[in-house]
Symmetry: C2
Subunit: 711 residues, 2 copies
């Protein structure tokens, strides 16, 4: 990207809303890849100028056809390149020389085919960069802007109805993306934009979506990803979506390690840790859908404007069992099924037949066919209850009563301002269409309706609650003055000193270089101490028996000192043994592991997990992108599956989650300031007592090359 | 049940395939509950005799109508009772006096409405029992036998086409069950039987399904449950289905505790532990579907006759990303995505365009539209690979190419004997219908196709692998001779002795009633010992500090003896202190908890989990119905989420899973022999070293009332 971001943003807007579109390699065979854009533009009524380019034709379908790009009578806002791969670079140069700034390259045969194709793709990047162009593709289906009727695509999706709508959907995969777009159409939700980014040689998902979310006609942003190269761009996009109050829904494949490998080989994307991706996007309010069905379900929930104020769900069904299944799922995903207030119960009992139940879920039975008010009054009463934030009505089949039921739901909709969903199993098609036309999210399976409600609720929750106190007071200056440190493991005394200045509660540590100094340091401590081997070449001290705990007495200290020197020499004869660390004994009944690492996609990442056997057996850790505030840190602790250990198990007292969150937030501020200089930091163990956490051991590794970059 | 089971089985067969059907309370208003059965029987061509009963009519729709049951000209094989609740009991008596043996009661207003209704329901049970009748309902939609065109129902489902088919579906819920039946119809799978059991006053899910699975026209048994009262009947059904090689697919709501409560209150079922239900049905080869969508998906997989020989899945897609998503899900559910053999890869590369990939998943791209052999040859090559057991082909949309694709799949089907599925996202309806008519399981979402494949694979796996060596040699006789023991906690020495004779590796234990005898017992042990308080009133010894470890020396023993006596007296002054137990120290680096309990639904249940913090924080335990063999016990260990601890973590050696499985299997045989006498057994901790497990502490509680029952 040689052009400024602002300039690129303008070019992207012209690309998405062009006044003129050139089609290089246009064909009069309108069913072929290079014929379909022209057909769609004409059929669907594009109002701008269409400029086919192909020396074989004088005209195509009444449009003057130009032999070469340089022959074009104007600089097109958008140029579609539909040529065999080997001709694409020359066409792009010609476009650049003409002054064209935006292109969509359909052609395949680039990075996705191997090294040779990758070299050709790199060439495209160089050309677009040289001319300051924005290029979509190669190896993509192009895009649709349904508002301005721009059909710069050969996707099968364009063959059907493509009415506009509030959803922008950007997909890396053409085939899967086309399927998802078709599912959106099947639901009648309406795609305003549909973009397939393909190989993303230049324009990637985040930059394109950034150009779309500002469009006031767009209410919901959704993406299908196979990998992410530019993490910061995705973070910027997520933050912007949050500012705009527009949900960003992402499905990314490669959740498992083997899947991630396959995805990386498929798209040339970096093999990023899915766990990091998952945590970081959650941190910035992105909603992750696990697959295409869930993406559709969540899209539908957000296409209507109502948002729940909390996580309390009222459920009304005509089947007790369906209610139980939905309540089960709600509990699993952390939603509440509240008791209804007495007044609400009375209102429901007033209309309820004897064999219904006024609890939550409310079983209204099938009798509402004869008495519609049974359903409408029950659901309105439920939604009027101050302890209910959103309601879901479950019903089934009822083929003969569609009109009656649609009227009931229309009535409910006017009588409440709270969101409510319909779940209609084995629904007649007419019912689904009518309800969706009314803007009522409608599902065909109970568990799926609960999951969609959960996404709506989580999104509302994530928009609130920030506590910037740590981040605003800041402690980044603690990293100043250490710019000239060499690469590799930093000595423990310096590392502890540095982190202490950054506000991290480190157990103090001193270096003894002789028996006598060890004794002196112990005496100064005035209590039991730990002795540890100190060497940049021995980072995992415990593996060589390089730690001796709980020493209190001169002869003990001397013996331990000599023992450790001996062990270090035996295990690593060539290690640079700096001495023996002396540290007062720390205590704490909860053991944490905390770390900082440099993720190749997102940058500085902070990790926390329960230590000991729990982290080893369960890999129960969670991540955040640095920096983050204390509330975000507290949410990390909430995410730990074994987090209950913090609240006291096996007779142990609870520890203060706030103090741990404080440590994590401060560490994240420091970590962010170390971007480009820190390679890795392990704080392990962090012992937590009722007084708070203390870091007992740390390994800090600085990065030479990154230090140069940042300098 | 006063009639013998054999007699009941005959009555149930007549009920399901009646030559004559009486309709008590029949109406000429054919759209009403009491008119609909007649309408359906006539419309759908029931060949037997239809006998309406209602004093208001001479005839209904050309059928002679009889004023009362006693006026009927014959004893009907089946009688439908469609009367208000208050008239049902009298009708049932009249039927009994007439000699009728089988009835379906539609009427609601019984157990589901509260205590008064429950009393009326109990009366129905008494009447049916007195006359040796089999009664379906009350509060049910009745049933359909589509083969013999028996429509003893008023379900909405019967309004549409109800062609027969290989699935028997029995549901406790009417509304939810109707929805599921309609979904089965939408998929074109075909229901042979559709039964709603309602309140199950007499006939329950298991007994009815037992009468159906023998029908050779039925290939797949499926059920929707809200609760289970008769666990042994369900176990018998599951065993019979396994013998017949017919899958039994169950969806049960109430997975979470709150849901289970709601389900119990809804159906009057026992609030059984869902974890026990889940484990026990898995033990007997039942497939659990988590919701109605998954039930349909799994039904569809089993409706075709091909079964995979193993868990290795080949995937072919036209989208790399879809392949990754499916591979991810496969890994999550324990399926393998094998590397393809070199020969297979070569065969695929022979037909593959340059931009495809011959790995697994195979990305055949969208080019197969132009070159059908690309798809057919790739998939056949994959299925020919000896390392592939089942294949799934993923594609999308392709509205214009349905016939071509259906022909490709027909070709593949004839060229392989292995099962394969099609996953077609945003599929044209014609494609779904054509493929399903060909018996190819067809899905519309990738993850769902993987889950259905997993069910097919797990079922094939569960049919094999039994190791009855422990169960056949038996050790039930170990329980003989203890019949007269009193209820309550058994003393430790007797309990250890008893379990030792049953083949359980118990740490030996002796009771000291004086300091001197404690010393003598220590001396006899010849090494370090543990001393523990022994009292039937102090079952949780550690809570009062009632255990002292690692004693070795006379004065230590004496001091510890007195300390424990003191502690017991202080903590429980009125406790019956029998003495102090002396036990040699045991060691083991893995700690298990093992237990036996009496489940109200299923009977004797064995539990195992990892001990210590893992069981406390994670509740990671699993269950089986006693007795079971060593292979089943090994599967219990496989199910533990923290089972990796058994294989050695944190530098510890692995332990022998086989020896733990042996303990569990032996314990299960003993537990089964104790049905009716054992209330509870806790073996905690069980320490496992490289030498195997040893039970260090046990609490056995006998049950007086149940002892009487068994006597």
């Amino acid at each position: 990207m040689t052009t400024s971001d602002g300039n690129r943003a303008e070019i992207i807007q012209r690309l998405l809303k062009p006044q003129s579109i050139a089609i290089v390699g246009a064909s009069d065979k309108l069913d072929k890849v290079n014929g379909r854009p022209l057909k769609h533009l004409m059929d669907k009524g594009y109002a701008g100028r269409i400029l086919p380019v192909n020396p074989k034709y004088e005209q195509i379908e009444g449009h003057d056809c130009y032999p070469t790009i340089s022959d074009l009578p104007e600089i097109p806002d958008l140029t579609i390149i539909a040529l065999p791969a080997r001709f694409v670079a020359d066409a792009l140069v010609a476009l650049g020389e003409k002054g064209g700034k935006a292109a969509v390259i359909f052609s395949s045969g680039f990075g996705e085919t191997g090294a040779e194709g990758q070299a050709m793709e790199t060439q495209l990047q160089e050309i677009s960069s040289r001319f300051g162009m924005c290029v979509m593709g190669p190896n993509c289906l192009g895009f649709i802007n349904a508002f301005e009727k721009v059909y710069a695509t050969f996707s099968q999706y364009a063959d059907g109805a493509t009415g506009d709508g509030p959803i922008a959907f950007v997909t890396q995969s053409g085939a899967f993306g086309t399927a998802i777009a078709s599912l959106v159409r099947q639901r009648g939700l309406g795609l305003g934009y549909f973009i397939n980014t393909g190989n993303q040689a230049d324009l990637d998902f985040s930059e394109l979506m950034m150009g779309i979310v500002e469009d006031p006609r767009i209410k919901v942003a959704a993406g299908y990803l196979e990998g992410v190269k530019d993490g910061p761009a995705l973070v910027r996009l997520a933050k912007r979506c949050r500012e705009l109050g527009k949900p960003l829904i992402l499905t990314k494949v490669g959740r498992m390690e083997s899947g991630a490998r396959a995805a990386a080989s498929h798209t040339g994307a970096l093999a990023m840790s899915d766990a990091v991706f998952d945590a970081v996007i959650r941190q910035y309010g992105v909603i992750r859908a696990r697959n295409e069905e869930q993406m559709l379900d969540i899209m539908e929930a957000f296409c209507q404007p109502r948002r729940p104020a909390g996580n309390r769900v009222g459920i009304a069904t005509q089947s007790g069992g369906a209610g139980v299944m939905m309540a089960d799922r709600a509990e699993e995903v952390g939603l509440e099924i509240p008791q209804l207030g007495l007044e609400t119960q009375q209102r429901i009992l007033d209309v309820m037949p004897e064999y219904g139940a006024a609890g939550n879920p409310v079983d209204v039975t099938g009798q509402f066919v004869a008495r519609p008010e049974l359903l409408s009054e029950s659901v309105v009463a439920m939604l009027d209850d101050p302890d209910v934030d959103i309601a879901i009505v479950w019903l089934q089949l009822m083929t003969a009563h569609v009109d009656k039921l649609v009227n009931i739901f229309a009535d409910i909709q006017t009588r409440t301002k709270k969101p409510f969903f319909v779940c209609w199993v084995a629904a007649p098609q007419a019912a689904l269409e009518a309800l969706r036309n009314m803007g009522i999210p409608t599902y065909t399976a109970g568990e799926r309706s609960i999951e969609a409600a959960a996404a709506l609720i989580r999104y509302s929750e994530s928009a609130s609650k920030t506590d910037d106190s740590v981040m605003l007071t800041g402690n980044g200056e603690a990293s100043v003055g250490n710019g000239n440190l060499p690469a590799g493991a930093l000595d423990s005394v310096s590392a502890v000193d540095w982190l202490t200045r950054a506000g991290i509660p480190m157990a103090p540590v001193s270096l003894a270089t002789s028996e006598d100094s060890a004794v002196e340091l112990w005496q100064r401590t005035g209590g039991p101490v730990v002795l540890k081997v100190e060497s940049p070449d021995i980072l995992h001290k415990t593996e060589i028996g390089g730690v001796v705990l709980n020493l209190n007495g001169e002869s003990e200290i001397r013996q331990a000192y000599n023992l450790l020197v001996e062990r270090a020499r035996n295990a690593h004869p060539k290690a640079d043994l700096k001495g023996i660390l002396v540290q007062p004994m720390s205590s704490g009944h909860v053991e944490l592991v905390v770390g900082v690492s440099h993720d190749p996609v997102f940058g500085m990442i902070v990790m926390v997990g329960l230590g000991g056997i729990l982290v080893e057996v369960l890999k129960d850790v969670t991540f955040r992108h640095a920096p983050f505030d204390r509330n975000e840190a507290a949410r990390m602790l909430d995410e730990l599956k074994t987090g209950v250990v913090l609240d006291g198990v096996r007779g142990k007292p609870a520890v203060d989650r706030g103090k741990i969150a404080d440590l994590l937030s401060r560490l994240s501020v420091w970590a962010a300031s170390m971007e480009g200089r820190l390679s890795e930091l392990d704080l392990n163990p962090v012992l937590v007592s009722e007084d708070g956490p203390v870091v007992v051991d740390c390994v800090m590794i600085l990065d030479a090359s990154r230090q140069d970059v940042a300098a």
